[in-house]
Structure formats: C-alpha cells, structure tokens
Subunit: 158 residues, 2 copies
C-alpha cells in the first residue's frame, strides 16, 4: 500500500501514548492502556479523537463526568464493560456510548476479558471544563498557577 498523505492517516503510524494525568494511586489503576492521538495527528483542534487499546484489566479512566465536554466512544475490537449509574453493560465491537456534557452520570470502560479491546474516544475541547469522580477521592483544583489533583478535602496530591 502506498504511504498515505494528510488529510489521510494510517493510525499505525501514530505514536503510542501511555500513562495518564492522574496523580497516584489513580494513575497505576488505568493498567494497560495505550492511546494514539489521531485527531491531533491530523491537525484537529476543536475535538480530540483517540484510538485506545486496553489490555486485560485496563480501564479508560476513573469513573467520571465532564461539565462542558461531550464524549463518545465506539468499540472496534474485543469487548469492554461500560460502568455508569445505570449499572454495567457489555459493549462488543460495533456498539457505542455517548456522554452529554453536564450529565452527572460518571462513566468509564473496563476490560474484564482476557483479550485486547480497541475503541475510538472522541471529546470536544473547551476552556473551563472540569471533571468529577463519584467513586474516588480526587478532584481538580486550580490556584491560578494551573490545575492540580487534590483530595476532596482540598489537600494536594503528590
């Protein structure tokens, strides 16, 4: 196959990003999670599109909801468990989920299978967005010098 030129893109040529912006002990809990930032690779700025691979035990994020960001996921391969206030639902390849901004229903995906799961995640980018974590002792605080992870009583992590 000829090498693609932008605006076309082969996701296999996009570098893998591991790790997360959470403070410990939350960061480690994400497990085997790899993202390829496809939207960024195409020069998009209004929304992000990531191709995410979750190994067995991996998770998309802490269960969370956003104030100003719509999010959407579409499963491409394998199977993930979607956890929300509605309970747990298995999403196989070809199924999807969408989380409207401001809806106070924490969500995340967990790979409870023994095989890799792959999905696309999309979210709009907008200043002033915040995320909340109903199950975990984490919130984002901002002292004017930048956002940081804090306990829910206000003490800074790390």
């Amino acid at each position: 196959m000829a090498e693609l030129k932008l605006p076309a893109l082969d996701p296999g040529t996009v570098s893998e990003v591991r790790g997360s912006g959470y403070p410990e002990p939350f960061k480690t809990r994400m497990g085997d999670r790899v993202k390829r930032r496809l939207g960024d690779a195409c020069g998009l700025t209004r929304f992000g599109v990531n191709l995410v691979t979750l190994g067995p035990g991996g998770r998309s994020a802490l269960r969370h909801w956003h104030t100003l960001e719509d999010e959407f996921i579409y499963v491409l391969e394998g199977e993930v468990m979607l956890v929300t206030d509605a309970g747990e639902q298995t999403l196989a390849a070809g199924l999807c989920a969408g989380y409207p901004a401001g809806k106070r229903d924490g969500h995340h995906l967990v790979n409870r299978t023994g095989a890799v799961a792959v999905y696309l995640e999309i979210g709009n980018r907008i200043d002033g967005d915040n995320a909340f974590y109903p199950d975990d002792d984490l919130m984002w605080a901002d002292d004017g010098a930048g956002a940081y992870g804090a306990h829910k009583d206000g003490r800074r992590y790390g």
Copy 2:
C-alpha cells in the same frame, strides 16, 4: 443480548436518514448514502457522530471544506476513495482522515467499489460555519431569513 440503555447505544436501533440538504442537481449525486445519527441519539450537542453507509457509487458529500468545523472520518468496513487537492487515496477499514477547520482543501469520499462501505464521520457544531465547494457551482447565501443554496453568481437554486 440484553437491550442497551443510554448512555450505551446499539447503532442498529438508530433510524436511517437518507437524502441531503443540497439543492438539485447535487442532492441526487450523493447516490446510495444512509446515515445513522449516533451522537444525536445519545443527546450530544457539541459535535455530531454519524455512522454512514455508502452503497456502490455513493459519496459522502460534494467535495468541500468548512470554515469553522473540524471533521474526521474513520473507515469501518469496505473501501472508499478520498479525494482532496493531494489527489486520490484509497482508505480501507482501519484507516482515517481529518480535515482541520479553515484548511482550504476540499475533500469527499466516493465508493468506487462494488461493495458497501461503512465509516464514522465526526464534526464539531458551531454557529457561523460555512462550507465551500471548489468543483461545483454551489455556495450558501443567507438573506437574514435563513441560509439557501445559490449559484456562485448569486442566483438562488430551486
């Protein structure tokens, strides 16, 4: 499989939309094109996510570019031809393309195969967006009562 509850969604349960907002003779040129509005079905408002099925000869749109809308497509099944100023590039399942807002490079997808092609298309929603069509005698005009399709010399279609 148990029926999914929002925020989870089975695209197969989302109604099919045919046709386009173009005036004739452009509307008919889209051929066999069916969209399922997945983002809308999940209550998203900041961006749209459509699952699009193109039959043989079908096309995504007239070749166009947007002033304020980022767009992204990811091919799920079959094969489409991406046409841009860079020429023609074949995109098979697992490949993608992204079009930054304001980049004056008209793009569209054409299904030149004998089989169905399926892809996801994503675009942010923003007031004041406009689209331009380098290959066709079509522009959008607005007289204050709403936008309408016009010839490039200003005469209204239809």
